[in-house]
Symmetry: C2
């Protein structure tokens, strides 16, 4: 199974590394990072990045596609959108994490379909024709979308189950010791304190510009 | 706060990207990837890697150190061990994820101390003088160790709480939508089916060589 992990400028690192770690050690899986050009693609923080070893055009028939989110969803990488439109016709699974769903929607893949994305970007997803569902992982036929950033781990474990059976998925889960124990219960807007949700929404509305984040942070600090 | 994220050949990508994503967007945190040399450091799969932007010697006084696990713990990077021994004297927090604890132990930091690591490597940790504790995150003074691979997310959220308060930690958790919902309950040896634990132990005993993994996989497939 060829699994194409898509990179584009300002992608979010954990969005794609979660699925990578779940999928890469399963024998038979051939994982490849693809982007419009080969070489280093810088993440949304500007502090890190990953290397694409193939150009999009070099991978015309992937079995599985995973599109991460990022902070670039107001300026989509058009080459990625075109490639997604083409390859989706023959994939076994087309998937996204976080605002990667914006890419799927822009490619016409989510038209009228239930899907999820980062909670703070649901309006944008709906503007592009999808029906937002507030679930961690949404499966509709061969299209699987996952919620914000860290949800790619949950999504990829389901992919392994579909592709290789539950035994393999459990083996991977145990291998990466995925027995999560978040120290706080603030991982979704339904659970986080209302004040924190408002602050996060304010910070994220402007796509987490440094200034917006700093303002939010000052609020949080003065409230602590 | 300068936060040094350590890279060495055959590190595990998710081990360090989990803490990176939690720590990097918090204003005031200056996150830097360090290794014995600048440039790309290849991960344990050989399919990916991260770029070190500084050499260990260029970062002599980090406030926080995070050491990821990897498959190289039978051949430690001696320059990392020496550097850890030096910088630990002045850090505010010295932390590890997964078999990163083997590095801390080799540097003498865990002598007689409670600590955790990947469940399959606890004997190795104890051989090096630490007292293994089967908990997800173990805090003893300024030393924080976390269990296998994915546990770095939980550990880093606690670090943010210690450094910036609970409001900031909740804001980060909501930002990365860390509301984990593993589709199976096989994330620790205490929870996974006994057969899966045995298979994983067999595969991991030989440090996940390709052959060992293939054998385990065939067992799982034939059992499914």
């Amino acid at each position: 199974m060829q699994i194409a992990l898509v990179l584009y400028p300002k992608f979010t690192l954990l969005d794609i590394v979660g699925p990578f770690q779940v999928l890469v050690d399963v024998p038979g899986n051939d994982v490849v990072f693809v982007a419009s050009n080969e070489g280093l693609v810088i993440d949304h923080t500007g502090r890190s990045g990953l290397v694409a070893s193939a150009r999009l055009g070099d991978v015309p028939n992937p079995d599985v596609v995973v599109v991460p989110g990022g902070l670039g969803d107001t300026e989509l990488d058009a080459s990625v959108v075109r490639w997604l439109r083409d390859v989706h016709a023959t994939t076994t699974w087309t998937t996204s994490v976080c605002t990667g769903a914006i890419y799927l929607a822009a490619a016409g893949i989510l038209e009228g379909l239930d899907a999820t994305t980062h909670w703070a970007r649901k309006e944008r997803l709906e503007q592009l024709g999808a029906r937002y569902v507030a679930e961690r992982v949404v499966e509709r036929g061969k299209v699987i979308t996952a919620a914000g950033v860290s949800s790619g781990i949950d999504m990829a474990l389901r992919l392994v189950e579909h592709m290789h059976g539950i035994g393999m998925a459990e083996l991977v889960q145990l291998g990466i010791e995925y027995d999560p124990q978040p120290p706080f219960d603030a991982g979704s807007p339904a659970k986080a304190p209302a004040e924190i949700v408002e602050l996060a929404r304010a910070g994220l509305a402007d796509q987490l510009s440094d200034e917006a984040v700093r303002e939010v942070v000052e609020h949080v600090r003065s409230a602590s």
